[in-house]
């Protein structure tokens, strides 16, 4: 097992944990937490590939990861704002209770 694959496995595990949280927790904020974890796992992947791939001087992986962080921050802001607004309307953040799109 190369160091790279070790990092990748860690990233995969983190990703799976984040996905599990997003899929199973009741609270909307915890879903967002799970999403943040997933994004971070992806960032780890990027940096790992940058470090152990060819041409690290091109800085591709690093740039990608930085942009990803920026975008994730923006997305977290907007997403949490949405959750707050939903809470104002439905008086709850329970995702099982918010099923107005039910067919």
């Amino acid at each position: 097992m190369t160091p790279l694959s070790g990092y990748l496995l860690v990233a995969a595990l983190l990703f799976a944990i984040g996905l599990a949280g997003a899929l199973t927790r009741r609270n909307a904020i915890l879903v967002l937490i799970g999403i943040e974890l997933m994004l971070n796992a992806a960032n780890l992947n990027l940096i790992a590939f940058w470090r152990y791939g060819p041409h690290p001087e091109a800085l591709t992986g690093m740039m990608f990861a930085i942009f990803s962080i920026a975008v994730a921050a923006a997305e977290a802001a907007v997403g949490l704002g949405l959750v707050i607004q939903i809470h104002r309307h439905a008086q709850t953040t329970d995702l099982d209770a918010i099923n107005r799109m039910k067919g």
């Binding site: 899929l23 918010i98 099923n99 067919g103």
Partner: protein
């Protein structure tokens, strides 16, 4: 000259058409139109007659024709045309003259009838059609007018159609003459087929001309008869129907249901004479192949039928009590005389009796009409009597007519015409049978006419009305006819056989040498004796006696079975009823059963099938098609419901599905890239 001849029948027909369009109250106009048209036709006929007469006086046979092709059937032309010769000329004058007198008489007789206008419409139509028969040179035109005459006879017999007996009599007349007409038509078709022409005279190519006749004689048909004989017999069958020969005479006595002018015109003077005229017209055909001094098969059949009818009808006339019925049977009998005359003596002999009979029979019928009118529609002779003093004019003219009919010698035309027939019958080679029949018939004629006159005019009045003389419009024609009943004798005496000469286109001279014929004077004596026996017997039995209506007749008391048989018309009608009519009733029932049950059943069956099909269709449509569609929609709806239930509305469900899909996608991609 034959060109304008077509006007003679056309003008009365046009008048009839105009009258048909008039309103019922326009009575005077209707009768004036009818009488006017008849005057016109009479004048034109006289002009035509004069033309033929002048031709005859110059010793020429005038026979002018005017023919044209009517239509083409394929390549075969159907020709129509008219002919002007001595035969048609005398007939034209007689028909128009007697017709005119009867028209004038009708204005008086039908004055109180509400259907006056309709009467004159039909009368005019009849006159036109009869004149068409007379002038026809094409056998097709003759047949067409023949049928029209039959139609108008039906219309006029059934003129008082609300009376059931009148309607039935009209039907009987039409159907009985139809039987004859079928044979006539067969004869026409055969003649046309054989000779190739419809025209009688056509410059040598006509069917009555030598070329065609020789061809017909040579042609053999069934029973060893030549085509000429066979066609002649077929045509005679048609004539027998129209002229009331036995066995098709049954309609004539019943035709007395019509008004008296109708009886006078149609069933005495003209229509029934049409049959005789027809035989005279096709005489060359009947006569074809006649051996010298002998006769042809066709003519001998005509003779025997005519003679038998003469005797048969005279017997029945003896036992009748209705004034018109006696005259009707008398007409049948005299028609028999005419046919026999044609058979034994030729065209002139038969036609002379036809002309004289037209006058005195019309006179007798009109006199009877006058009597009926005067006795307020009473027709039974047993309820009349003593009218001699109350209706002198009628009596006088009636007596003249009666004596002419009986054949009282010298003065009256009937004597000369009947004697002509008797003389020819005496010389009939085949048999003396017709002669004896005709002589006995003459005796009976005198007898029953005397009986009738005694009942009506002599003795005391046994009725309930107040008889009065008829108006001038009725008695004037009577007087005119009486004059001719006497005067016409003059043209047929052996001293001056003008009529015979005119018809045969031979010159005639006045001279008593005519009486030098061997056996002629003896015959005249015999017939005189026979007539006076009949008159005497009648007077002796019925004379001035006035038997009451419920008393039996003298002869009836003497021999009831014979009397009853004669009074019941020798059961001919009953015979027909049992055989022919019964057969037709059965056949009508069969046809009705066929129509109602078989064809009707078939139609009903088809409609049932269609209904079944319709029901099946509806069932299919409602249950199968609609059901399938509804089921399908239901399934879709259920499926939709199912699918919509899958939308939980919960974000995490969607997320899970997303993740699953991504996993699957990844697996597929990896698998494909590895492979």
């Amino acid at each position: 000259m034959a060109g304008p001849l077509w006007l003679i029948p056309t003008v009365p027909i046009v008048a009839s058409g105009v009258i048909a369009l008039l309103k019922q109250p326009r009575r005077k106009l209707a009768s004036n139109l009818a009488i006017g048209s008849m005057v016109f036709s009479l004048l034109l006929s006289l002009v035509a007659f004069a033309h033929v007469l002048s031709g005859w006086m110059h010793g020429a046979l005038v026979r002018e024709t005017s023919n044209f092709t009517w239509i083409h059937v394929g390549t075969t032309p159907l020709d129509l045309g008219w002919v002007l010769d001595p035969l048609s000329a005398v007939m034209l004058v007689m028909v128009t003259f007697v017709g005119l007198l009867i028209f004038i008489y009708s204005t008086g007789y039908m004055a109180h009838d509400e259907n006056y206008t309709r009467f004159f419409c039909f009368l005019s139509l009849f006159a036109g059609a009869m004149l068409g028969v007379v002038i026809a040179n094409s056998i097709l035109l003759l047949f067409m007018c023949w049928e029209l005459v039959g139609l108008t006879s039906y219309l006029l017999i059934g003129f008082w159609y609300l009376k059931p007996s009148a309607a039935a009599a009209a039907k009987k007349a039409f159907l009985t003459t139809r039987v004859g007409d079928v044979f006539f038509l067969l004869g026409i078709v055969w003649l046309f087929g054989q000779t190739g022409t419809l025209l009688f005279y056509h410059g040598g190519a006509g069917s009555m001309e030598t070329h065609a006749l020789t061809a017909l004689l040579l042609e053999r048909s069934a029973f060893g008869l030549s085509a000429a004989t066979a066609i002649g017999l077929l045509i005679f069958a048609g004539a027998a129907g129209k002229s009331g020969q036995f066995p098709l005479h049954v309609w004539l006595p019943d035709a007395m249901e019509g008004p008296t002018p109708v009886s006078a015109l149609i069933h005495a003077a003209t229509m029934v004479a049409a049959g005789v005229y027809l035989i005279a017209r096709v005489y060359p055909l009947m006569q074809a192949g006649m051996p010298a001094g002998g006769t042809t098969t066709a003519l001998s059949v005509v003779t025997w039928v005519g003679a038998f009818t003469a005797l048969f009808a005279a017997l029945i006339a003896v036992a009748q009590n209705d004034i018109k019925r006696i005259l009707a049977y008398s007409t049948v009998s005299q028609l028999g005389y005419m046919m026999a005359g044609l058979g034994v003596g030729g065209v002139a002999v038969g036609m002379f009796h036809l002309i004289t009979h037209a006058f005195f029979k019309a006179l007798l019928f009109m006199g009877a009409g006058s009597v009926i009118h005067g006795c307020h529609e009473e027709q039974d002779v047993r309820r009349m009597g003593g009218l001699r003093s109350r209706m002198p004019l009628t009596f006088g003219t009636y007596a003249v007519g009666m004596m002419a009919l009986s054949g009282v010698p010298i003065l009256f035309s009937g004597f000369w015409s009947k004697d002509g027939i008797l003389e020819a019958a005496q010389h009939f080679r085949l048999s003396k049978g017709p002669f004896y029949m005709l002589v006995f018939g003459a005796l009976l004629t005198a007898f029953y006419m005397t009986r009738q006159v005694s009942y009506v005019f002599f003795g005391s009045y046994r009725g309930h009305a107040h008889p009065h003389e008829s108006p001038k419009s009725m008695t004037l024609p009577l007087a005119i006819l009486a004059f001719f009943a006497v005067a016409l004798g003059a043209i047929g005496t052996p001293a001056w056989p003008w009529f015979r000469g005119f018809l045969n286109s031979t010159p005639v001279a006045f001279g008593l040498s005519g009486f030098d014929e061997p056996g002629l004077l003896a015959l005249m004596g015999t017939s005189t004796v026979v007539v006076f026996i009949g008159l005497g017997l009648g007077w002796w039995l019925y004379g001035n006696k006035s038997p009451h209506a419920d008393q039996p007749d003298v002869l009836e008391a003497a021999a009831p079975p014979i009397w009853n048989a004669l009074r019941d018309r020798l059961y001919i009608d009953e015979f027909y009823g049992a055989t022919v009519i019964a057969f037709y009733w059965w056949w009508a029932k069969v046809a009705d059963w066929l129509d109602r049950d078989i064809w009707g059943g078939a139609v009903a069956g088809v409609s049932w099938l269609f209904k079944l099909g319709a029901r099946l269709n509806r069932f299919l449509d409602a249950n199968v098609v609609d059901g399938t569609f509804d089921k399908g929609c239901e399934e879709i709806s259920v499926g939709g419901g199912l699918l919509s239930r899958m939308q939980s509305g919960r974000v995490q469900t969607y997320l899970r599905l997303l993740a699953l899909a991504v996993v699957l996608l990844a697996v597929i991609l990896i698998w494909s890239s590895r492979a």
